[in-house]
C-alpha cells in the first residue's frame, strides 16, 4: 500500500516537474506546414511534451488557448455586465418622474428663466439657440473645440503620416470622369443647397437651425461638388493650407468673441453689444456672428473628414 502510494507520488512528481514517462498510446502529430494562413494554423503538440514541467505545459496551453479563453471570458462578462446595466436602468426608469408631466423636477426656475427672460436677455427668438450660444456658451465653445480636436487628429492620422509613407493599399473607389447627368444635377442643385445652408445659418436665432446644421448643409454642397467635378476642381479654391487656415481663423474669431462676452460678463464691464428687436435678422447680439463662424468651422471640418476618408488628402 505504502509502495503504491510512493509510486503514484513519484509519477505525479515527475508529471509536475517534467521528465515524466511518455504515455504509450500518445500519437505525435506532425508539425503543421508553416505556410498556412495564420487563422488556420494549428498548434501541434511538441513531441517531447511529456518532458515539460507543469509550468511550461501551462504556458504552452495558454499560448494556444489563452486568447480564445480570454475572449470567451470577456464575452461572458460583457453579456453579464450589459444585462445587469439594462435591468438596473429599467428599474431606475420605472422610478423616475413621470413622462410629460409638468411637475417634474427638471421644470424648475432654470427653464422658467430661459423662457421668461430669454427673449430680452439674449434677443433670440429661438430659445434653444439663445441657451446654447449665450447662457451656456462655454459648453458650445468646448464642443467646437472638440470638433477641432477631432479634425486635427484625423488630419494627423490620415494625411500627414501617409504622405510620408505611401504604402497604403489602392482604393477600389474611383470617380468616373465624365458623368454628365451628375454634373447637370449638381449644377442645378448646388446653388439651391448653398442658399438653403445660408438661410439656415442666418436664421439660427429665429428658427430651428443654426451654425451646426447650416454648416452641415454647406459641407454637403462641397461634397456634392467634389463628387460631380472631381476633387481637383475643389482643390483649386480649397487647398489643405487654406482649409487649415480657414478652420483655425474661424475658430479663433469664435473664441475671441466668446472670450469678450465671458470677460465683460463676469467682470460687469460694458460689452458694447446691442441685442436688437426680437424677430429681426440683425438681433440677438453675438449669436449671429457666432453662428456664422460655427458654420464655417463645421462645413470645413465635415468636408475635410469626407476628403480625408475618401481621397487620402484634402
Amino acid at each position: 500500500m505504502n509502495e503504491d502510494l510512493r509510486i503514484i507520488w513519484r509519477n505525479f512528481f515527475n508529471w509536475v516537474m517534467g521528465n515524466g514517462a511518455r504515455p504509450e498510446n500518445e500519437e505525435i502529430i506532425p508539425e503543421a506546414p508553416p505556410d498556412l494562413p495564420f487563422t488556420q494554423k494549428q498548434e501541434s503538440r511538441n513531441s517531447r511534451f511529456h518532458e515539460l514541467t507543469l509550468r511550461e505545459r501551462y504556458s504552452h496551453w495558454l499560448e494556444i488557448h489563452g486568447l480564445h479563453l480570454f475572449s470567451n471570458v470577456y464575452s461572458g462578462m460583457s453579456v453579464l455586465i450589459c444585462v445587469v446595466i439594462v435591468l438596473l436602468l429599467l428599474v431606475t426608469v420605472a422610478e423616475l418622474p413621470k413622462f410629460g408631466s409638468e411637475n417634474n423636477p427638471a421644470n424648475n426656475e432654470v427653464m422658467e428663466r430661459y423662457i421668461n427672460s430669454g427673449g430680452e436677455e439674449t434677443g433670440a427668438k429661438n430659445i434653444v439657440s439663445g441657451m446654447i450660444l449665450d447662457y451656456r456658451a462655454f459648453d458650445t465653445f468646448g464642443e467646437s473645440a472638440l470638433l477641432f480636436t477631432a479634425a486635427v487628429s484625423v488630419l494627423m492620422l490620415l494625411a500627414v503620416s501617409r504622405r510620408d509613407s505611401k504604402n497604403s493599399p489602392e482604393r477600389l473607389h474611383k470617380f468616373s470622369q465624365d458623368d454628365s447627368i451628375l454634373r447637370g444635377v449638381a449644377l442645378l442643385s448646388i446653388p439651391v443647397i448653398v442658399l438653403l445652408g445660408c438661410v439656415v445659418i442666418l436664421n439660427g436665432h429665429l428658427k430651428p437651425g443654426g451654425g451646426f446644421s447650416g454648416g452641415a448643409i454647406l459641407s454637403a454642397a462641397l461634397i456634392f461638388a467634389a463628387n460631380a467635378y472631381g476633387f481637383g476642381s475643389v482643390h483649386k479654391f480649397f487647398s489643405e493650407r487654406k482649409f487649415v487656415i480657414m478652420i483655425s481663423s474661424a475658430l479663433m474669431i469664435y473664441a475671441l468673441l466668446n472670450a469678450w462676452s465671458f470677460f465683460t460678463g463676469a467682470n460687469d464691464f460694458e460689452a458694447y453689444i446691442s441685442k436688437g428687436a426680437i424677430g429681426n435678422i440683425f438681433s440677438a447680439g453675438l449669436i449671429l456672428p457666432l453662428n456664422i463662424c460655427l458654420s464655417l468651422i463645421v462645413a470645413g471640418i465635415l468636408y475635410g473628414f469626407y476628403a480625408l476618408f475618401s481621397e487620402e488628402e484634402i
Partner: protein, 501 residues
C-alpha cells in the same frame, strides 16, 4: 469679491490662453521648433498664473473660493468656473508636470515624432492642457462631460502620434474603453439632470441633499452615482477596468506615456472627487454605500497592479502597471470618505503627477543610453552613461517604495494617518504595507540593474542635453521637497476639500 480683479480672472485666462495657443499653432510657420516653444511658453505662463492664484488664495486665509460666471449669467443659468485652494493647487501641479514632461522628453520626442507631425502634437498637447484646466475649474457637470471628451480624443491621438502599428492598436483599444466610460457617464449625467433639474454642481447638491433627507428617489440616485463612478473609473484605469492602460503606455512615445499617466488619469479622478464631494456630499456617498465599493476596488487595484508589474520585462510596461497600483492608492483615499482621506488622495495625485513623468523621462534617458531597448536587462550599467537619468530613476523608485524624505512617503503616511479614525483602518494599513513591499520587489531590481557595471559592454559616452539636466534636476528637487515639506501643502489641501463641499 475679495480677491483682486486679476486673480479673479485667472481661471478664465489660463483656459483661454491654452485654447488660443492650440488654435493658432496650425497657422504658425513650422520652423525652428516654434510650435513646441509656444506650447512650453504658454504652459509656463500658466504655471506662474496658478502660482499667483495660490498665493492670493492662501494669503486670504486659505478658505476663500470664488465663482466666475462665464458670461452674463450666474450659476443655475449660465456656465460657471469655480476656484478654490484645491483647484488652484491641482492646476499648478498639472501645469508644472506638463511643462517638465515636455522638457524632459524633448529629445525622445524629436526622435520619435517626424517633423510634420510635431505641429499637430503640439496642438494636441495644448488642447489636452486646456481641457485639464477646464476640468479642474469647472462648476458645471455637462461642461465637464464635453471637456472630458476633448481630453479623451486628444489623449488617444497622443498615443497614436508615434507612427507604429502597435501604437495605433493601443490607441484604438484605449478609445473603445473610454467610449464605454463616456457613455456610462453621459447617461448618469442625464439621470441626475432629470432628478435635480440642474447641471450646476452646487445647485445639484442642494436638491440631492433634500432628496436624501426625504428618502426620495434613492434607487435612481444610487444607480446614477454608480454609473458615473464606473464610467470615470474606466477612464482613470481603476484595476478591473485597466487592461487598456499598459498597452497604451507601453507602445506610445515617452512624452505621451508621461502625460497620460501623470495628467490624463488625474483629471478624471479629480472630476470623480468633485462629483463625490461637491455634487453628492460625503454623507450622501456614505448613505448610498459607494464609499465601501471604491475602497475595496482601490485595495484590489493596489495589490493587483503591483502583482502584474512584477512579471513585466519591458520597463515602460512595468511603470505603467505601477500606475494602476498608484491609482488604487488614490481610490483608497477617496474610499475613506473623510476630508482627511480625500486630501491625502489629492496629495497622492500631486505626488504621482510629479514622480511618474520623472520615471518616464528617466527611462527615456536610460534607454537611449542603452540603444533604445526597453527591456530591463538592456539597461544594465546605464547609470554610468546618463547619471541624471539614473538619479531620476533612483529617486522615483525610492518615492514609489515610500522611503522617508521622498514624495511617496509623505502621501502614504498621510493616507495612513487619514485611515486611523476609520472603521476599515486595518484593511487599509495592511494594503498599504503589502503594496509598498510589492513596489519594492520590482523597483529595487530595476535600480540594482541600472547601477550594476556591465563589463561586457564597451564604454559609451553620451551627451546629455542641458534642458534634460535642468528638468531632471527640478523633478528630483520637487520629489524631495514634497517628501520633506508636505505638511503645509496637506493642510491647504484639507482646507480646500472642506470648502469644496
Amino acid at each position: 469679491m475679495s480677491v483682486n480683479i486679476f486673480a479673479y480672472n485667472i481661471p478664465f485666462i489660463s483656459i483661454f490662453l491654452m485654447m488660443l495657443a492650440a488654435i493658432i499653432t496650425p497657422i504658425l510657420p513650422n520652423r525652428k521648433r516654434i510650435p513646441e516653444k509656444l506650447s512650453c511658453a504658454v504652459v509656463f505662463v500658466n504655471v506662474i498664473l496658478s502660482a499667483y492664484l495660490i498665493y492670493v488664495l492662501t494669503n486670504s486665509g486659505g478658505s476663500l473660493t470664488f465663482n466666475f460666471a462665464m458670461g452674463n449669467f450666474p450659476a443655475p443659468w449660465g456656465n460657471e468656473l469655480r476656484a478654490g485652494p484645491l483647484e488652484a493647487i491641482l492646476s499648478f501641479a498639472f501645469c508644472v508636470s506638463m511643462l517638465l514632461s515636455l522638457m524632459g522628453n524633448s529629445d525622445s520626442t524629436a526622435e520619435d515624432i517626424p517633423e510634420k507631425r510635431r505641429v499637430i502634437f503640439c496642438v494636441l498637447v495644448n488642447l489636452l492642457t486646456a481641457s485639464l484646466l477646464a476640468l479642474t475649474y469647472t462648476n458645471d457637470i455637462f461642461t465637464a462631460y464635453v471637456f472630458i471628451e476633448i481630453n479623451t480624443i486628444a489623449a488617444c491621438a497622443i498615443v497614436a502620434v508615434k507612427e507604429s502599428p502597435e501604437s495605433i492598436r493601443a490607441a484604438l483599444r484605449y478609445m473603445i474603453m473610454s467610449s464605454v466610460g463616456s457613455g456610462l457617464l453621459l447617461i448618469a449625467i442625464c439621470l441626475l439632470y432629470d432628478l435635480t433639474g440642474h447641471l450646476s454642481m452646487q445647485n445639484m447638491n442642494l436638491v440631492i441633499k433634500n432628496l436624501i433627507a426625504n428618502r426620495e428617489y434613492i434607487m435612481p440616485l444610487t444607480v446614477a452615482l454608480a454609473l458615473a463612478t464606473i464610467g470615470l473609473a474606466i477612464k482613470s484605469a481603476l484595476y478591473p477596468f485597466a487592461s487598456w492602460l499598459p498597452d497604451a503606455h507601453g507602445n506610445s512615445t515617452n512624452v505621451s506615456s508621461a502625460i497620460l499617466s501623470g495628467l490624463v488619469l488625474k483629471g478624471h479622478i479629480f472630476l470623480l472627487i468633485k462629483i463625490f464631494v461637491r455634487v453628492f456630499g460625503l454623507e450622501a456617498i456614505h448613505d448610498l454605500r459607494m464609499d465601501n465599493i471604491i475602497f475595496a476596488l482601490g485595495i484590489i487595484a493596489m495589490i493587483m497592479g503591483s502583482v502584474n508589474a512584477l512579471s513585466q520585462v519591458n520597463v515602460k510596461r512595468m511603470i505603467a502597471w505601477s500606475s494602476v497600483a498608484q491609482v488604487g492608492y488614490i481610490f483608497l483615499g477617496i474610499g475613506l470618505n473623510t476630508n482627511a482621506g480625500i486630501a491625502a488622495a489629492c496629495l497622492h495625485i500631486i505626488v504621482h503627477a510629479t514622480v511618474k513623468p520623472m520615471l518616464y523621462a528617466a527611462v527615456s534617458g536610460l534607454s537611449s543610453a542603452a540603444g533604445h531597448s526597453k527591456s530591463l536587462h538592456a539597461l544594465m550599467g546605464t547609470f554610468y552613461v546618463n547619471r541624471w537619468a539614473g538619479l531620476g530613476l533612483i529617486a522615483g523608485a525610492f518615492s514609489m517604495m515610500g522611503i522617508p524624505a521622498f514624495a511617496g512617503f509623505a502621501s502614504k503616511l498621510s493616507l495612513m494617518l487619514a485611515s486611523f479614525d476609520s472603521p476599515v483602518m486595518i484593511f487599509s494599513l495592511a494594503a498599504l504595507v503589502t503594496s509598498s513591499v510589492l513596489n519594492a520587489l520590482y523597483y529595487v531590481p530595476a535600480v540594482i540593474v541600472v547601477l550594476t557595471h556591465d563589463k561586457t559592454k564597451p564604454k559609451v559616452h553620451m551627451n546629455v542635453s542641458m534642458i534634460y539636466k535642468i528638468s531632471m534636476g527640478i523633478f528630483i528637487a520637487l520629489t524631495i521637497y514634497l517628501g520633506l515639506f508636505c505638511v503645509t501643502l496637506l493642510r491647504l489641501l484639507t482646507r480646500g476639500v472642506i470648502v469644496l463641499g
